[in-house]
């Protein structure tokens, strides 16, 4: 009897321990935090890509941040693609359709999200059509002050990659 009591106490203890370990590794707070971070980063890199793409398309440098011209913007694009792919790998296989839809038009990153969901073999229709990224963020100068600072910061880390 005493033995059974001790065994069941041990069992309860072990289960609680397992639950604790599971909570630490798979706990909702932890995953949501890094997932939200990841979504935000994809939006930001998507924005940088859109700005650089518009710059690459403007031979007169009019749409470009001051440190790039259309030629250098063009040569930076594969780096953007690699960066996005890296972020996609970190986010997969989660499917943040709602979050992406509600934030992508603000960052002109809907085309980036379209590509993410393509890699996940999922359909994606943003309410604000993802074809509008280039028109919504037509040039660096047209961005808000915050977004300009963000783009410059990201550009700097892109050069370091």
């Amino acid at each position: 009897m005493k033995m059974i009591k001790r065994n069941s106490a041990f069992l309860v203890f072990a289960i609680l321990g397992l639950l604790f370990v599971a909570w630490v590794y798979l706990g909702p707070q932890r995953t949501t935090f890094s997932k939200a971070d990841n979504i935000q980063k994809i939006n930001e890199v998507g924005l940088l890509g859109t700005v650089l793409l518009n710059c690459a398309d403007s031979p007169d440098r009019m749409n470009c941040p001051s440190q790039v011209n259309s030629q250098s913007a063009l040569s930076l694009m594969p780096k953007i693609q690699a960066w996005e792919d890296d972020l996609f790998k970190q986010l997969a296989p989660s499917s943040p359709q709602e979050e992406a839809k509600s934030t992508c038009s603000e960052y002109c990153s809907c085309s980036t999200w379209a590509r993410y969901f393509e890699t996940q073999k999922e359909s994606w229709v943003a309410e604000d059509s993802d074809l509008l990224d280039l028109k919504k963020c037509p040039s660096f100068e047209a961005l808000s002050k915050e977004k300009k600072e963000l783009v410059l910061r990201l550009l700097e880390s892109l050069y370091l990659q």
Partner: protein, 357 residues
């Protein structure tokens, strides 16, 4: 103990450290030792150092960007191994049975050997020993680079299309095969009567062999775009071998044609000599591009086409990059084929192999 480890590694890195180390704890005048004692002590020190370097090496291995040929702990381990072998030969060839016994003790437990050793190395002796190790390391680095030169079958070749004669445009599609879009592109190529080169991922070609075979049967050229599209600038040797050699085997197996061309994912890593050697060793020519459609970023086929047209107008000929996995790319490349056929854009579209002829 950790302090000892650090000192031991430092011994091989900096004669300066040895200066302070020896003046602090070693007596400078002790030249009347049996020669074997000095060898045994060196043997023990080498054992300690290689323990430390092995730990470093294991740590470096965890890093994605690990490169065997540039890893300094790997170089040190190789240098240590060759010195250990030469010391052991000297000891075993000698008639000194005591030294031979002590050697087997060192192999079991170098820590207590060093602790109990009577040997007190002089400043001069230790410095010259450290010089020997340094010389050994640089010799190994020289050998390694010679070895790499031997490994490579020829010199690295890279094409970006800038030297192509006027009107010769190689049309290339990356990242496929895709079960519907690649076939849609193929259909367009047949309709307009052009050929193109498809830079495929081995992992997809393996999954969709019939798509690759249809391309080959229609006279299209198949090329290698790695196994799984990693950023190869960051990979170590064994992963690079998978991405270049294994993928080549897989794609050649599916297409039943010898491969001539390779394109690095993101064009990244072209300047790495290790990658260059692996490619030339397999007789693969790297193909970059000078017209980028950016069809992975832009979802609008008309603006993709305009972008390509504008870049083509700036140069005589070259290599045009599309991706046959996106819906917009199918349409945009069709607009290009149409424009070339109708004479709106002058020149001809063809595969890389044909453009080089």
């Amino acid at each position: 103990m950790r302090g000892l480890f650090v000192l031991m590694t430092g011994l091989f890195l900096s004669p300066l450290l040895i200066q302070s180390f020896s003046s602090a704890s070693l007596s400078p005048e002790n030249e009347t030792l049996r020669p074997m004692e000095e060898l045994l002590y060196q043997r023990a020190v080498l054992e300690a150092a290689s323990d430390t370097d092995l730990a470093h090496f294991d740590q470096e291995l965890e890093d994605k960007s690990f490169d065997l040929f540039t890893s300094s702990s790997y170089h040190r381990l190789l240098a240590q191994r060759s010195m250990i072998e030469s010391i052991e030969h000297q000891i075993m060839d000698s008639q000194d049975l005591r030294a031979q016994m002590e050697l087997s003790m060192i192999k079991k437990d170098w820590k207590s050997y060093i602790k109990n050793s009577n040997f007190q190395a002089s400043n001069k002796q230790l410095t010259s020993f450290s010089d020997q190790v340094t010389e050994e390391i640089s010799q190994i680095q020289r050998d390694l680079s010679n070895h790499l030169l031997h490994l490579s079958g020829g010199s690295f070749k890279n094409i970006d299309g800038n030297g192509f004669s006027s009107g010769r445009w190689a049309l290339t599609f990356d990242d496929g095969p895709h079960n519907s879009r690649t076939l849609a592109v193929l259909n367009n190529l047949k309709t307009y009567g052009f050929t193109a080169t498809f830079f495929q991922l081995a992992k997809l070609a393996k999954r969709l062999p019939s798509v690759t075979q249809q391309l080959v049967n229609s006279g299209m050229e198949i090329a290698n775009h790695s196994y799984s599209h990693p950023n190869m600038a960051k990979l170590g040797l064994s992963s690079l071998e998978t991405q270049i050699y294994t993928s080549s085997d897989v794609i050649e197996g599916v297409s039943k044609r010898p491969l001539r061309f390779f394109r690095l994912p993101y064009g990244s890593g072209q300047t790495r000599s290790l990658i260059q050697n692996l490619l030339s060793n397999r007789n693969l020519i790297h193909v970059a591009w000078n017209v980028d459609s950016l069809d992975w970023k832009d979802r609008n086929s008309q603006s993709i086409f305009n972008r390509v047209k504008r870049q083509m107008a700036r140069q005589k000929g070259g290599v045009i990059l599309f991706h046959d996995i996106h819906a917009q790319s199918v349409k945009a490349s069709q607009l290009l084929m149409q424009a070339v056929r109708s004479g709106e854009i002058s020149g001809d579209l063809m595969s890389v192999g044909e453009a080089l002829r």
